[in-house]
């Protein structure tokens, strides 16, 4: 028996056919079809293979709750795990089945099915523990090939955007309850957002035949009238194709809108919007979800939830099969039977687990009238068939089995209020003994749950339910609405989680979680092994841990567990439903913040010059800094750095230091403030002089360093490390606002207002004198660590005599607009003197040769000034500064703290590696006693050998002795521990 169109459905454009491809074969559907409804129309049953056992799987549901029918969308970015039951088709759509090899029809891995003991409960936890070493070579490759879902998508630039909403009310769900709520709020002043996941409003009115008329109108016209009313209301905005996925604290809701429903995403247009919604109150009207019943081979293609079967008929205009067998434990099948009869189809049989006297008379009447074979007090024992259902075994109360040849079985195990969002909001659930399900009981936030989402399954009580819950909003009461129903308004259900079934073969399995291939046997085994808490059992068996979060089966699992443990379901409790409700792509979360927009790139005014002159850049925070300059195309880092470092100590080099943080500090209390912020004492410093300064945290650990220029007692300029600029400024702001608000002081970042060039080397003075002919650079006119303002190109520039490298040097601060001109001037006059541009790597090398530490490389937030041999920078006469008290704590005055020293290899062929351990002997036998580690190391062309800086326990006292350094490639080798200054210990060059 095959599928048949139901051309009465108003939601499918039967005049507009759409061609698409599934696994390379072309099919035809209609505009409005989902992939699933189109495939059903084409009588395609197998959609994919299952997660662990590679069993054939079909379409189980008709919506977001689908566990099986997941496909890979090839025509876009190869998005995996797309629900075929949600994604609508469009002309040219290309899709592929997942998790099959080599083909869907003949999957070789379905042999896994026979190896199933290997894949049983807890297989992640224990099977792969032993033997050791098997994981990498055997298990991992095997599992990677065999298990899993789709393939990762191709890299792409997301076009999704994000929108923020601030509203009074959000209604989640545009079904019957949601529409009634919206209608009653339409005349209020409240700002309302109505969110519907489908392309059409209506919910149960659109998906089923249960209600015949409402307010004396047919269902479709009622929906249309209400929608018009909402449109005219002006205070209600409707978002269709939008799924509320996350309910956070503070009534903060995340919803994802699909802008490309039923069409190919357009180039240059956003394909989805992530809505970030703040609301005073959230009304959950998101309905209910049907659940399954476990029996032998309840996963075969051809088995579908009964409500979904009806939704295909009503909403998608396709009857999946004209004579299905129906199996139920509740009263909900009437409308399905009726619509089949109305469409000249007829169920092949009706199987009800309830005894005849408990079944509603209306249901019995239609079954008798239409002569449908009836099995009461009976169960479906199991299904058989090679790739889909071919035979259904029905067991009656006597245990007698009747076999029916059929290709379609509709099942209904009852209904669960869709409590996912409610539990995400931290609301409490309660067990409903009558309807055998958990339903919302107490809200934690401003959450109102109405309709079946709240566990109300009686239409006659709906108006009262909504009126009583919304009255505080002064809504327009609904009072009463008349329904004409196609079935009894008294929903009833009998407990049935799993049917008794025969063990036929290893292939026989009774599933509880279809997506993760978890069987009811796995649940029993888990409990037997001691995992009897529901959260433990979930992780041990992976039950309800798939992308569907066990929407159609998690309550069933609780039911089965409660029976095994002989407890009430309410005692077993639920696992926590975690956000998101359905998978949310990273692309939608990232929005536009990808690639170029991920993080700003900051470039100095000299950037283009650097590029033209062979610079290779490195990222320092957001800054692009020249790392080294290539003098010829193949020159590598090492070669360039050796060349640059030699050249600078012999002639001169200039570094683009514009990225260094610069902060201006002003105010009548600036001096006092600076004395508190830095270790140094600035009180006796002369105006227009500068000092190398240290900043500590209150814990006494080095936070940053830089040069402080004092213009006068009310005006300072501080430089910071490139990466530390923002941190230092906010550190200053924090203390000025919170600890010392009485101090009159203001600070401002001027990093981008000035470019900074650091020029140094023996030829520097010569070059400066040529560039600035009117300035005297001799020692007497311009001593070390002083600065002054000068005129250059009618603009004021500031020149500071200071050094990064240990050589004679100057720092020039210049307006960005004329910076490039000055930079080029330096080269115009400096070229003949051997001036070169150099990068950060050479700067690090030159600094290290001179023993200048790099904060963040030689320090790591756990070293004090004493540890770094910088005691001379501490203004001991100052009463207080940030971190001062911590420098005399018992822990910071220990003598065995790690202290900074220099190291050089005894055998000069050895090259010290950064990060290696300093140890006592070359004999490495665990446990090895560690003295410390290498913080930085370089090959010095000026020394002719490798050297390093290290922090070593009690290092200061070990100077002059020897130790060993470990190596990544060979035995540890001997080094000499020495002072950390390798070049010009007497500072002759600085003041030359």
């Amino acid at each position: 028996m095959s599928a048949k169109d139901n051309k009465d459905s108003p939601y499918i454009a039967f005049h507009q056919s759409v061609k698409f491809t599934f696994d390379g074969v072309k099919y035809k559907g209609f505009k409005g079809d989902t992939i699933a409804s189109a495939l059903i129309r084409n009588n395609i049953k197998i959609i994919g293979r299952s997660f662990k056992y590679h069993r054939p799987r079909g379409i189980y549901t008709c919506g977001i709750e689908e566990p099986n029918a997941l496909v890979q969308i090839l025509s876009e970015y190869s998005e995996p795990n797309t629900r075929a039951t949600v994604k609508q088709i469009y002309e040219g759509l290309k899709i592929e089945s997942q998790n099959r090899w080599p083909s869907l029809e003949n999957d070789l891995s379905s042999v896994n099915n026979l190896l199933s003991p290997l894949f049983s409960a807890g297989f992640y936890n224990k099977t792969f523990m032993k033997p050791r070493g098997f994981w990498k070579k055997v298990y991992e490759p095997l599992i990677r090939k065999a298990a899993g879902l789709g393939k990762p998508p191709k890299p792409f630039k997301t076009k999704s955007t994000q929108l923020h909403h601030h509203v009074d009310i959000v209604i989640v769900g545009g079904g019957l309850s949601g529409l009634l709520a919206a209608k009653s709020l339409a005349k209020t002043k409240l700002k309302v957002l109505l969110i519907e996941q489908d392309s059409y409003l209506g919910g149960i009115l659109k998906n089923s035949n249960k209600i015949s008329t409402i307010e004396s109108k047919d269902r479709a016209s009622w929906i249309k009238d209400v929608e018009t009313e909402i449109e005219y209301s002006k205070n209600i905005k409707v978002l269709k194709n939008t799924l509320a996925t996350t309910y956070n604290y503070i009534n903060y809701l995340i919803a994802i809108e699909d802008l490309t429903t039923g069409m190919m995403p357009l180039e240059g247009h956003a394909d989805q919007i992530l809505h970030k919604i703040r609301a005073d109150h959230i009304i959950l009207a998101n309905g209910h979800i049907e659940r399954l019943i476990s029996f032998r081979n309840n996963d075969l293609p051809g088995i579908m939830l009964a409500g979904s079967f009806e939704k295909y008929i009503q909403r998608y205009g396709v009857i999946p099969n004209i004579s299905p067998v129906i199996f139920s434990n509740n009263s909900s099948s009437f409308s399905l039977i009726k619509i089949l009869i109305d469409l000249n189809c007829k169920p092949q049989a009706y199987v009800d687990s309830r005894s005849g006297d408990k079944i509603e008379s209306s249901l019995l009447d239609i079954i008798h009238k239409e002569n449908i074979p009836l099995f009461t007090n009976a169960h479906v024992e199991g299904c058989d068939g090679k790739k889909q259902v071919e035979e259904i075994s029905i067991r009656d109360s006597e245990g007698i089995i009747t076999k029916l040849k059929s290709k379609m079985l509709c099942i209904s195990g009852g209904f669960n209020p869709d409590v996912h969002l409610f539990t995400q909001s931290k609301g409490v659930l309660t067990w409903d003994d009558k309807y055998l399900t958990f339903k919302p009981s107490k809200s934690f936030q401003n959450t109102i749950v109405i309709g079946s989402a709240g566990g109300l399954f009686q239409y006659s009580k709906l108006a009262n339910d909504i009126d009583s819950k919304l009255s505080f909003l002064n809504h327009e009461p609904i009072v009463n609405i008349n329904f004409e129903l196609n079935e009894s308004d008294n929903y009833s259900i009998e407990k049935l989680w799993e049917t008794k079934h025969e063990k036929k073969s290893r292939w026989s399995k009774s599933f509880i979680d279809l997506q993760n291939d978890v069987t009811t046997k796995d649940l029993r085994q888990g409990i037997r092994e001691g995992f009897d808490r529901i959260e433990h059992l979930k992780r041990f068996t992976t039950n309800s841990m798939g992308t569907d979060q066990g929407k159609i089966s998690s309550i069933n699992a609780l039911g089965i567990v409660s029976e095994i443990l002989n407890k009430k379901v309410s005692e077993v409790g639920t696992t926590i439903y975690r956000p998101p409700y359905a998978p949310l792509s990273f692309a939608s979360i990232a929005g536009r913040s990808t690639y170029n927009f991920y993080d700003p790139e900051r470039k100095t005014s000299i950037h283009e010059w650097h590029k033209k002159n062979g610079a290779v850049f490195e990222n320092v925070g957001q800054w692009k800094r020249p790392w080294y300059f290539q003098s010829y195309l193949e020159e590598n880092l090492d070669q360039a750095v050796q060349r640059e470092a030699l050249q600078i100590r012999k002639y001169a080099g200039v570094l683009d230091g514009s990225t260094l943080g610069k902060i201006e500090i002003k105010g009548s209390d600036a001096l006092e403030f600076m004395n508190l912020m830095y270790t140094n004492n600035f009180s006796k410093m002369k105006p227009m002089s500068a000092r190398y300064a240290l900043m500590l945290g209150e814990d006494g650990m080095i936070m940053d360093d830089g040069i402080i220029s004092k213009i006068n007692d009310n005006h300072f300029i501080a430089t910071t490390t490139t990466g530390g600029a923002a941190k230092v400024l906010s550190h200053m702001e924090e203390f000025s606002q919170t600890e010392w608000p009485h101090l009159n002081v203001f600070m401002n970042s001027i990093t981008e207002q000035f470019c900074t060039f650091n020029i140094s080397g023996p030829k520097t003075r010569l070059i400066m004198e040529k560039v600035f002919k009117h300035i005297k650079f001799d020692n007497e006119s311009f001593p070390f660590m002083t600065f002054n303002n000068f005129t250059y190109l009618d603009s004021t520039i500031r020149i500071l005599r200071a050094s990064f490298t240990g050589e004679l040097g100057y720092e020039i601060y210049v307006r960005p607009s004329i910076a490039l001109k000055l930079w080029e001037d330096l080269f115009r006059f400096g070229k003949d003197e051997g001036l070169i541009a150099y990068g950060t790597e050479t700067m690090h090398l030159l600094r290290a040769e001179k023993g200048y530490i790099i904060v963040g490389q030689d320090t790591d937030g756990s070293v004090t000034p004493q540890d770094m041999d910088l005691e001379w920078m501490i203004g001991k006469s100052k009463k207080d500064f940030i971190g001062k008290r911590s420098l005399t704590r018992s822990d910071t005055i220990r003598s065995d703290r790690k202290q900074l020293v220099g190291i050089k290899p005894i055998n000069q062929k050895n090259i010290i590696e950064e990060g290696q351990h300093i140890i006592l002997s070359s004999n490495v036998k665990p446990p090895v006693k560690m003295l410390g580690h290498v913080t930085s190391s370089y090959m010095s062309p000026n020394l002719g050998h490798s050297f390093g800086m290290a922090v070593i326990k009690d290092g200061k006292n070990l100077i002059g002795s020897r130790a060993y350094v470990s190596s990544s490639s060979r035995d540890a080798y001997e080094v000499e521990i020495m002072k950390s200054v390798f070049i010009d210990d007497e500072n002759k060059r600085l003041v030359s």
Binding site: N248, P741, D880, R885, R889
Partner: protein, 118 residues
Amino acid sequence: MLIINCPYCGPREQCEFTNGGEAHVARPSDPEKVSDKEWSEYVFFRSNPKGIYFERWVHSHGCKKWFNAVRDTSTDKVLKVYEIKDEKPSLADLENSNLTTPSGEPEVGSGNFTVRKI
């Protein structure tokens, strides 16, 4: 994500702010006079209650002003914001805070029993 009501700018998204840890931790006025223990209480130790917490925030991507807030850490509700110079609000002012915990947590192990007004 929280909405925080900056006393200077009004309500803004949490991503504009940086948390500055517990408020009203006084820096010793004469650090040299306090013991190691007292000093380390100031530098390292902070209370970490489930319930009412006085904390500092800075509107780092806004006005850059520091201010104090009272937050119920069990519900993430910000009960009050006030300027640095203002007195620590008394608990009587927060009477309506209505302490609750995320419901559904079992009593044992969730720390619920420690919910209290300090």
